[in-house]
Symmetry: C2
Subunit: 378 residues, 2 copies
């Protein structure tokens, strides 16, 4: 992944070319080894009036063959990774490039907010005045009503994720915050203050996925493998859900990925989950089976998901502090988790015994979700 | 496919729900049999400020499981079909829903033209003032310069495709035109007049794809099968191409699909190709190996691709007369070709001996292309 942050002078193609180049270096492969590109982007139409980014990004990365742009809102590149994995598994390709990019800081926050709203239901949510901070605050308030919990519980999640990012050079906010910072920040949409919300970001991510056979035949690094994939969907509009503070698309994605990898939630040592808002991390941990519904709200506060906890969550800093260039986020989770498991992430020491990592990437109010299981291969 | 045309009061979700419902009826399956959705849409961000259409369309169609929106400009649903085929072939699903939708007539022609421009290079083509009629007219003039040919040659393509659509109730223009109509029409971008250009359209398409095993186990119609798929890419901007009047992405897609199906161009009995502009049909026929470069310009004029010719092309009416709701077009080609081969299309009688059909769906100025081979299964 590129460093996430504000680089309004750089185009999405420029960002993706950098990420792809670093992926090729890391994989010790040349671009011409790639047979197909799966690329995620969400809001290029709004930020650059640029669709049809599949062939554009193939050219930027120097690869040929089929190229497909996947758009699943903030899960765009996570879904691109899944389809890339499936293409390799099906035997139709040995080497694919996956990833995504997003440019968000070259337009105003108002324009960005409008663009992001395209991930919700234009007819039944956006026309009623809901923005994404608003939609997730409905989920948070509904959670509080149903299960209990407080703004301060959520604040611990923001503090934790900022803390994890302090030494991560790729993170947008390498800055510690405390509980008072969170609670005293300007309100965005009650119960959220500024620090409950992930930022607008520019950035790109990329990974080279290869078949086991190709890796062995070419003497490539096989220390970490994607062993499980899962994707799920839900009603786009919150109003059509059975329960507002639950995310069944994540349940479906998680269960599918666990079964695919032949593991259970208990086997997971470290996780990167989609904390676009603090409440989202809570919903993710419950949907993924790490906690019962209503139980994850205190996980950060109790230290269970902190860097020295039983299940460290978002050691990268998460979307909150690493940044959230939406179309790049799912691929960035794969990149950070690979480094964490391989031992070359700044926070790897905290999980030196970890062998199983999980990534959870969500679109909209989790109307779509994709989960990957990564494992250390001996 | 739904009837193509102007239905500005209907949302894309409404159109896709209709197409999916008709596909379920045709397949004799209930929506709950579907395991995954691959859905193509190009300009929903501009027409409806609606992205994230995967879960939206899954809900509209009444299906659950993973749902993915594919965006490859005007090849969006063709690419969605390919990924759906690959998912079934890989053994990861027995039943998938594929298709696409586009809403174009609820916005002005100027807004629609801006939206379509997102399929070209925003930095190097659109900012230089190129629109899609302009880009394809560059291709036509370059073709004339390199290989010869006249506006009147192109006019025969428009006349042929309109003629094919006269009895097709799903077509936008069920109206015959003659050569003078084409040559005397207002100029859009020289050498193109109005009748050289496909229209703005609303519409949707859908198909249920099933594995051979599932079809046999459930006694479903297996009279037509997709036996070959291929996809290719090229530089997004015309200026980066080696040759303006050639489309190597279509060559790559075609050769891959032929090899996949184990056939050659000579085996193809009937074709639906992406005639967004009259010249595009010429370039398609040459790239697909039916003609040498420079030779297809007179194919319609000589009657070789007419309804009673050796290789009938665009018996549906093509994009020109059937209409071109861009995200629905690739899926509509599959729908029309299936009917042609199965014997229940209004123009089936003209190809009653046909056993092999080909569909060619292009994005932008053929920066992306997908080809499918469909065969009658005895």
């Amino acid at each position: 992944m590129t460093a996430f942050g504000a680089s309004p002078e750089r185009t999405a193609r420029d960002l993706f070319a950098q990420a792809a180049g670093e992926a090729f270096d890391d994989a010790a492969l040349e671009p011409d080894a790639v047979e197909e590109l799966f690329y995620g982007n969400f809001m290029g139409e709004f930020a650059e009036v640029q669709g049809h980014q599949g062939p554009l990004m193939a050219e930027a990365a120097g690869v040929s063959g089929p190229s497909t742009r996947i758009e699943s809102a903030c899960a765009s590149s996570g879904v691109a990774v899944r389809h890339g994995v499936n293409q390799v598994r099906s035997g139709q390709a040995d080497v694919v490039l996956v990833g995504g990019a997003e440019r968000m800081k070259n337009i105003s926050t108002a324009e960005g907010t409008k663009a992001l709203s395209a991930a919700a239901d234009a007819l039944w949510e956006i026309k009623a005045g809901v923005t994404f901070p608003g939609a997730y605050s409905l989920m948070a308030n509904s959670y509080f009503d149903e299960f209990g919990g407080t703004r301060e519980d959520l604040a611990h999640i923001a503090v934790k994720n900022h803390s994890n990012a302090v030494e991560n050079d790729l993170a947008q906010f390498q800055m510690a915050i405390d509980i008072d910072d969170v609670l005293e920040a300007p309100t965005v949409s009650s119960p959220f203050g500024l620090y409950d919300c992930s930022p607008m970001s520019d950035g790109a991510s990329a990974a080279v996925l290869v078949s086991e056979e190709f890796a062995e035949a070419n003497g490539l690094d096989t220390s970490v493998a994607i062993t499980g994939v899962g994707q799920g969907s839900d009603s786009l509009a919150l109003q059509d859900r059975v329960s507002i503070p639950e995310t069944p698309a994540a349940v479906e994605a998680g269960e599918t990925a666990y079964e695919d990898a032949g593991i259970t939630p208990e086997d997971v040592d470290v996780a990167e989950v989609h904390d676009c808002f603090t409440i989202a991390e809570v919903l993710a941990l419950e949907s993924l089976g790490f906690y019962e519904p209503g139980e994850a709200i205190t996980a950060a506060r109790e230290g269970e998901t902190t860097i020295d906890g039983e299940l460290p969550v978002n050691l990268s800093g998460g979307l909150k502090a690493k940044g959230h260039p939406v179309g790049a986020t799912g691929g960035a989770q794969i990149s950070e988790m690979t480094k964490l498991l391989r031992g070359d992430h700044v926070n790897s020491d905290a999980v030196s015994d970890a062998t199983v990592g999980l990534t959870h990437n969500a679109g909209g109010t989790v109307a779509s979700c994709v989960v990957h299981v990564l494992e250390v291969v001996e």
